[in-house]
């Protein structure tokens, strides 16, 4: 692995680590900002790869990540938290317990999926070993686990955005899909976050409802 490949590997690993940070924090606002940090890291990766491969598409992708994920999604989600509730937390959480379960779930799923499916994939020269695919997989499962383990609407939205971030990372490493499609996907996700933020205003937590059982 040369130096550039090591840097790419390092940033990709930081994307996955940011997922653990989001999982481990109980402050909603910190979760939202954790998602922004994760998106910044993905944008940086996209820029690096864009310059390395002289690909304008990857550079535009990085710009879109910054505008739509880092700025706009952060803006829409933070706007739904009233000023006096800036430090609101998910009180029922047992963070150490969640992190341990999360770790077991993620490690098992990623090892199995990578070992049996993705290890034989051949990536582009600038990226090198296929084991870098472990990071988007970890991020994807982190998002999934976040949705499953939390009751707060905000955190579940973050889980969904995290899954989408994993998909961008996956696409960047495998083969970036055409920009027009990528742009449509970004706009779709943004619209979904806006719609979700309407529900956040009405219902900030989710518990079992008797009428919806069975």
């Amino acid at each position: 692995m040369n130096m550039i490949q090591s840097i790419i590997f390092l940033i990709a690993s930081m994307v996955a680590i940011s997922g653990f940070y989001i999982q481990g924090i109980e402050f909603i606002i910190a979760n939202i900002r954790g998602q922004s940090i994760q998106s910044i890291l993905i944008a940086v990766l996209s820029f690096i790869m864009g310059f390395l491969e002289r690909s304008l598409d990857l550079i535009i992708l990085g710009i879109m990540v910054v505008i739509l994920r880092v700025i706009l999604i952060n803006y829409f989600l933070e706007r739904t938290i009233p000023k006096k509730r800036k430090f609101s937390v998910e009180k029922y959480l047992s963070v150490p317990y969640l992190l341990i379960v999360d770790l077991i779930f993620i490690v098992l799923s990623v090892i199995l999926i990578y070992k049996f499916v993705f290890s034989s994939m051949i990536l582009r020269e600038s990226i090198a070993p296929s084991n870098i695919l472990v990071f988007p997989l970890i991020t994807f499962f982190q998002g999934m686990f976040l949705i499953a383990s939390r009751k707060s609407t905000h955190t579940q939205i973050i889980g969904y955005v995290e899954e989408e971030n994993a998909m961008i990372l996956f696409g960047i490493f495998l083969l970036p899909i055409p920009l027009i499609i990528e742009a449509s996907i970004f706009l779709d996700v943004l619209a979904l976050v806006v719609i979700s933020s309407i529900i956040v205003l009405e219902k900030s937590e989710h518990n079992p409802v008797e009428d919806l059982i069975g």
Binding site: V117, S120, M121, G143, M144, I147, T153, Q156, I157, G159, Y160, E163, E164, M167, F170, G171, L174, L175, I177, P178, I181, S184, I185, D188, V189, A191, L192, I195, S196, I198, I199, E202, K203, H206, V209, D211, L212, G214
Partner: protein
């Protein structure tokens, strides 16, 4: 050729958009209904005048799906006009019809576009445009149902995006027409097709990712439930089928669909709310159609007959449910009785739509199911064949026992239902019978 290659598909997308613009002048209800009629006409025209493959990919299968979407869109817009004149509505009437139009456009876009990436965008857009429709009659339960719909479906559809990336990785293209006529072989394509079943299957009622379905169907207003059950789930099924065509995984698809049918039959046994009951019936029908698509050949014909018939009968079932809800103010089966005495038209509509949804002869769905079961047997899927037959009988008993009880058990209710709403429900429930009659005539001709 009347239109050039892209004019007609674009026009089909534009008509509801134009109806939405009238939002500004307060005529959106009427404009939506007129747009519905024009859309049905255009979809029929599309059958005669199919455009060449390019930006759009339209064959006989997609035309049938487009016809289904436009028809249910038209009937639902008519029903909505009356329904919301008598129900409290959380969002404004104008916003409701605007979202209904956007919802229809996103489904039509998914059916017309010649690109798997943009199909994914279309499916995701259906979630965006329809999520707020669920909370039209705002209450705690509908908010929870809408949220479950958003988060479960979005997470599932994101999972499906892995299959899009893998297809692009292996083939270097996402063009539908190119891919379904190609013969790429790769283990990653196998993975892509399997993932798409679980990912897009979230939206089309595949077990175990179906959990949003009964919640959204039961809490959405009846015309929206009709759109969900009648056309949204089939549109997701259409995308699954198109991806399946790239690399058919017949055994996997047949077994997963069989498991889903068995589970739907089990869930149906203990349902005590009529809208949830119809939602699980939708799950059963979608998976029978999935088996038909997976088997290919006559199975596809069976699936198309089943889906066409199901879209009308399920729309009829949900319109009838809306009428019953107006009459009894309850969603529980036990709270509904004496329907035939109190409101004979709604009672007949409910009976017919239940017969249609449960595959009773001579409704169209019966013929669709028979063709699929025959194909299943012929292709030596003996265990799935037996399991599906047992499940279908169980579903038939569960639905028709409850509906008969609601219809004929003694009871008195003084509330009245709007006659137009009753007639819309009745017409919807009669269409599958007409489809069945048409098939019988065709069979008579063959004999």
């Amino acid at each position: 050729m009347i239109f050039n290659n892209t004019a007609l598909p674009i026009l089909i997308l534009l008509v509801p958009a134009v109806a939405s613009i009238t939002f500004k002048w307060g005529n959106i209800k009427l404009a939506t209904a007129i747009s519905g009629i024009i859309e049905i006409f255009l979809s029929l025209l599309l059958y005669i005048d199919k455009p060449a493959q390019g930006v759009f990919f339209i064959d006989n299968i997609s035309v049938l799906f487009i016809f289904m979407v436009t028809s249910i869109y038209f009937i639902s817009s008519l029903y909505s006009i009356k329904y919301f004149s008598q129900h409290d509505i959380y969002i404004s009437d104008d916003l409701y019809f605007l979202l209904l139009n956007l919802f229809t456009i996103s489904m039509l876009f998914t059916l017309e576009i010649n690109n798997f990436g943009l199909m994914w965008v279309g499916i995701e857009s259906t979630t965006i445009s329809s999520a707020l429709l669920i909370i039209t009659e705002r209450n705690e339960t509908s908010l929870e149902a809408a949220w479950r719909y958003i988060i479960i479906v979005s997470a599932g559809v994101t999972f499906a995006f892995i299959s899009i990336i893998l297809i692009y990785y292996v083939t270097g293209t996402l063009t539908t027409s190119t891919l379904i006529n190609s013969s790429f072989k790769s283990k990653f394509l196998v993975l892509a097709v399997a993932i798409s079943l679980m990912g897009f299957g979230t939206k089309s009622g595949v077990f175990p990712v179906h959990t949003w379905l009964p919640d959204a169907h039961s809490e959405a207003p009846s015309p929206v439930s009709a759109m969900f059950s009648g056309v949204l789930l089939p549109v997701a099924l259409y995308v699954i089928y198109r991806i399946y065509e790239i690399y058919p995984l017949k055994t996997v698809y047949v077994w997963i669909a069989t498991l889903s049918i068995v589970m739907a039959a089990i869930f149906l046994i203990y349902q005590d709310k009529y809208k949830r009951m119809f939602a699980y019936s939708t799950m059963e029908n979608m998976n029978i159609a999935l088996i038909g698509f997976a088997l290919g050949g006559p199975g596809i014909v069976g699936a198309l007959i089943l889906l066409l018939s199901h879209s009308f009968s399920k729309a009829g079932a949900f319109y009838s449910s809306g009428n019953i809800l107006r009459l009894t103010k309850s969603k529980k089966i036990d709270d509904v009785n004496g329907l035939y005495k109190n409101s004979p038209i709604t009672a007949i509509a409910l009976l017919f739509s239940s017969f249609g949804a449960s595959g009773t002869p001579p409704f169209g769905s019966f013929f669709g199911e028979i063709i699929i079961f025959f194909s299943l047997y012929q292709q030596h899927f003996l265990v799935p064949f037996i399991l599906v037959i047992i499940s279908v009988i169980s579903v038939f008993i569960s639905i028709n026992f409850n509906v008969t009880k609601m219809t004929f058990e003694n009871g008195k209710n003084n509330s009245k239902i709007d006659r137009t709403m009753e007639i819309i429900a009745l017409i919807s429930s009669i269409v599958p019978l007409a489809i069945g009659g048409y098939i019988l005539i065709l069979m008579g001709g063959l004999v």
